[in-house]
């Protein structure tokens, strides 16, 4: 149908340099760290307030109090009840969010620049003078309990939760999801939330990130007006000690009638301070971080077992998990497990090829400006620097550090960070249909557990 298609990949043009926006930080007298990131040409502004009030700041008997506290903040202030607070923010075109993870709680909004001061006033009011209405507390607690039911009905989320529960050999908070399990959420009282808020929502260990379109002087005045008189310093977070994984084992979480098995294969990974962080990124990109990664190419593009296979590290203040993941049709569960385990073992023994390493590095380096095209993406990029105390030039040096990962470093990361004898192989699926085949692999003892 055509005669003159060009057979050759066209040469790239001259790259135009890109730099992560420069930012400034200063500290108010009350300890609040204020990070401002002006973005040329932006038409929105993002405000992220980070407080050391994530799940690492709670104690185990109150697991879930951090998440519930964060969620309750948007249900009003002493001055404005839940309805009035929602009206006040949304009439500015603002949807305030408030949520928590293991290492931080974040209250945030995005707005047109003209609403920055009004938005910041409402955000500050909500964080400093929350209403914690008794009825709203009961409502959100019940919603959280129902959300646990919902998440456990979804095989992917169930697999993620069950993987954490079985990955650690000894008892650790990291065995659960950061928002808490039903056993502890059930017991939470309104006073627990009030107490947690009073202790932890303090400026002393907090960070305010403002990124996008704003006027420096106006922002300084706004911050002064709404947050300078906030006071105190919280107790911070617990240290969650590293915990060991177990021996290689297979756990089938029985979900009768499933037409797919949700697979998670992995073990304890690295913490956010690990010196092998960059080699780990490059290694995992080759393994399961790109379309043409080893896992996806084999399980999807060669075998058709799955819609997609991937791998990655969850690096927190202490070591989270490393997992390879795929949802595969039920009748190939056993061979798919064999393939995943084989590819993880091969990552340690089969040398990384120059082409796949180059593609992984080029991907991570080249994608850099796209990661930060939205002002929300830029604000989010400040978070790990603030929360983990990374160097201020973390993003300025990021691409060089990716480029510096050679074959030797990637291979060393695979050898050190993938441990085939410790693999937890977890499948959420129909045990009656897969148990026998999986046991016949002969690669690990099999345990079947009911879905919670």
């Amino acid at each position: 149908m055509t005669s003159t298609l060009n057979p050759m990949r066209p040469a790239a043009g001259l790259p135009r340099p890109y730099h992560f926006p420069s930012f400034s930080r200063r500290q108010l007298a009350n300890g609040l760290n204020v990070w401002t990131v002006p973005v040329a040409g932006a038409s929105l502004v993002n405000v992220h307030l980070l407080v050391d009030a994530g799940a690492a700041a709670e104690d185990e008997p109150h697991g879930g109090v951090a998440a519930l506290t964060a969620q309750l903040l948007v249900t009003g202030t002493r001055r404005l009840d839940a309805a009035a607070f929602a009206e006040a923010t949304e009439r500015l075109g603002i949807e305030v969010s408030s949520e928590s993870s293991w290492d931080s709680a974040r209250a945030a909004f995005q707005s047109l620049p003209q609403h920055l001061d009004a938005g910041l006033a409402l955000l500050a009011e909500m964080v400093r003078e929350p209403r914690f209405d008794a009825g709203e507390f009961e409502r959100l607690k019940a919603e959280r309990l129902a959300d646990i039911l919902q998440s456990r009905s979804e095989p992917g989320r169930l697999a993620d939760e069950m993987f954490l529960q079985h990955a650690y050999a000894t008892d650790t908070p990291y065995r659960r999801v950061s928002a808490g399990g039903p056993e502890t959420v059930q017991t939470l009282a309104r006073d627990d939330v009030i107490g947690f808020h009073g202790d932890h929502y303090r400026p002393g260990l907090a960070h305010l990130v403002i990124a996008g379109a704003f006027d420096d002087d106006a922002v300084a005045a706004s911050v002064e007006r709404h947050l300078a008189s906030w006071d105190g310093i919280g107790p911070g977070h617990r240290t969650i000690a590293p915990h060991p994984g177990g021996d290689r084992r297979i756990v089938i979480v029985d979900r009768p009638g499933s037409v797919q098995s949700e697979l998670r294969v992995g073990h304890i990974g690295i913490d956010r301070y690990d010196p092998r962080y960059f080699p780990a990124i490059v290694m995992s990109t080759v393994l399961g971080g790109m379309f043409g990664s080893r896992l996806n190419r084999r399980l999807r593009e060669e075998l058709g077992y799955t819609y997609g296979a991937r791998s990655g590290f969850d690096a927190r203040r202490s070591a989270g998990v490393f997992t390879a993941a795929a949802a595969v049709q039920t009748d190939v569960t056993a061979p798919a497990i064999g393939e995943l385990v084989g590819l993880l073992e091969a990552a340690r023994t089969a040398p990384f090829g120059d082409a796949e390493l180059k593609e992984a590095r080029d991907f991570q380096v080249g994608i850099f400006p796209l990661r930060f095209e939205s002002t929300g993406g830029i604000a989010a990029a400040i978070e790990p620097i603030a929360i983990y105390g990374l160097a201020d030039d973390f993003w300025q040096t990021y691409r060089d550090r990716i480029e510096a990962v050679g074959a030797a470093e990637a291979q060393a990361a695979a050898v050190e960070l993938i441990r085939p004898t410790e693999l937890l192989i977890l499948a959420v699926g129909d045990a009656s249909a897969i148990r026998e085949d999986v046991a016949a692999l002969g690669i690990a003892p099999v345990e079947v557990v009911p879905a919670p």
């Binding site: 149908m1 298609l5 009905s153 796209l370």
Partner: protein
């Protein structure tokens, strides 16, 4: 609101080219909309438009299987595609100095897909797509909702009656001959829009487009699309209960509504937000916070043009709340807004949320490119991207009331209720 610059060109082979420059960052987006979706499928071939989309990543004359992704990711970009009722889109976002790579890859598959097709590739992607269906539909709680809504909203024979993902049996039946036929019929430059957005020089971008797409022949005989005419009102309420592996009952309510792009659609888009956008919305306030009968509420209007669009509401019951009580509470709120219309405060709220939402979406060049392609492909009017906010703000209380009264009627609704099944067998 920023006014996006728009340049339109037409190649002699019929390819419509839209250029929208923005040099804030050294990144560029390429986006193609082909005017073919699941509503163009033949009976017994459901899911084929989407399966075909997968085949477009299986290589062409000068690109090996999987190489499309390898080259784009190796260049520091992202690429993907999606299929829906009216269209199929393909897109890349990458550093601006690699613009020509994306254009070359897109032109190579449009110009020379068939020589690279094999039965083995088709069998492989059929398996992948069947697993996509399992992941998103068959193994998901509530996963069948949209295919059931479409089936109940549109009569047998209407091209929206069947889902884009298709049935397992039809996917099994797809052949290489189907691939050849589908490609020859629909994949032609005169059935497509190509948008480039971001950092580029318009003159040189246009030269690249002409160089790579110019040699590709048009199809002078694009087939007639299957007829889309449908009554604006169903005529009687349609109800179905679905036992499923779900912990909580959920009600999906859907209505036929005026098609995307019409004034009636605009008015109901405002109604969608009045009912369900934000914690001050009518349904959140009444059902979630005040009466505490719902765990969550979602409202959505499907922006499609095939005879009718789809107004959708879903609400999940709180534990212990019966679905009958939830349903009664839902109709009461919908009726209240239909009868009374929105207040000025209501309108100010949703207009400001909408304006901020548009601004946020259009921060990303890939979203700009996709919307420009959409407006060009569906309405031959890419300039509509610059009137999204003014069209929304032009909707007043009377238009909301009238549009709701015309469409959100009991005799025009489908009510699909998911109920926790007693056993896995019952949920099958």
């Amino acid at each position: 609101m920023p006014h996006l610059p728009i340049e339109r060109h037409l190649l002699p082979n019929g390819l419509r080219v839209i250029l929208s420059r923005d040099d804030r960052a050294p990144i560029v987006a390429v986006n193609l909309w082909y005017a073919v979706g699941s509503r163009h499928e033949k009976p017994g071939k459901t899911g084929f438009a989407h399966l075909f989309e997968h085949m477009m990543f299986q290589g062409s004359a000068n690109v090996a299987k999987g190489e499309h992704f390898d080259l784009v990711q190796g260049a520091g970009g992202t690429s993907n595609a999606s299929t829906w009722l009216d269209r199929t889109n393909y897109f890349e976002a990458l550093p601006s100095h690699e613009l020509e790579l994306a254009l070359w890859l897109e032109s190579d598959r449009l110009g020379s897909l068939l020589p690279a097709m094999t039965q083995e590739k088709l069998d492989n992607q059929r398996d992948v797509v069947k697993n996509e269906r399992r992941s998103s539909v068959d193994n998901q709680p509530y996963g069948t909702w949209d295919e059931k809504l479409q089936e109940l909203l549109f009569p047998d024979g209407h091209p929206y009656h069947h889902p884009t993902i298709g049935s397992m049996a039809d996917l099994d039946a797809a052949s290489l001959e189907d691939v050849r036929e589908f490609f020859a019929a629909w994949y032609a430059p005169n059935n497509a829009v190509l948008t480039v957005a971001g950092d580029f020089d318009p003159a040189s971008a246009l030269r690249m487009v002409e160089k790579h797409f110019g040699p590709i022949s048009p199809n002078p005989a694009i087939p007639e699309a299957p007829p889309i005419a449908v009554e604006p009102i169903i005529g009687a309420e349609v109800r179905q209960e679905v036992p499923d592996r779900v912990p909580l009952p959920r009600i999906y309510a859907a209505y036929r509504m005026p098609t995307f792009g019409s004034a009636g659609f605009d008015a109901l888009e405002v109604a969608v937000d009045l009912l369900g956008a934000g914690r001050a919305s009518r349904l959140y306030r009444a059902l979630v916070r005040e009466q505490q009968v719902a765990q969550d509420v979602t409202t959505f209007a499907f922006p499609v043009i095939g005879g009718a669009a789809i107004f959708t509401i879903w609400v999940t019951a709180r534990p212990g709340v019966g679905h009958e009580a939830l349903e009664a509470a839902l109709w009461a709120e919908v009726d209240r807004l239909t009868a009374g219309g929105p207040t000025d405060d209501d309108l100010e709220r949703v207009r400001n949320l909408h304006a901020a939402g548009v601004e946020s979406s259009l921060e990303r060049i890939s979203e700009r490119a996709d919307r420009l392609s959409m407006y060009a492909c569906l309405f031959d009017e890419p300039e509509r991207i610059n009137t999204e906010v003014s069209r929304y703000e032009a909707v007043d209380a009377a238009r909301v009331r009238d549009a709701m009264a015309a469409s959100l009627r009991p005799d025009n609704r489908v009510v699909l209720t998911y109920l926790p099944a007693e056993s896995a067998e019952e949920a099958a």
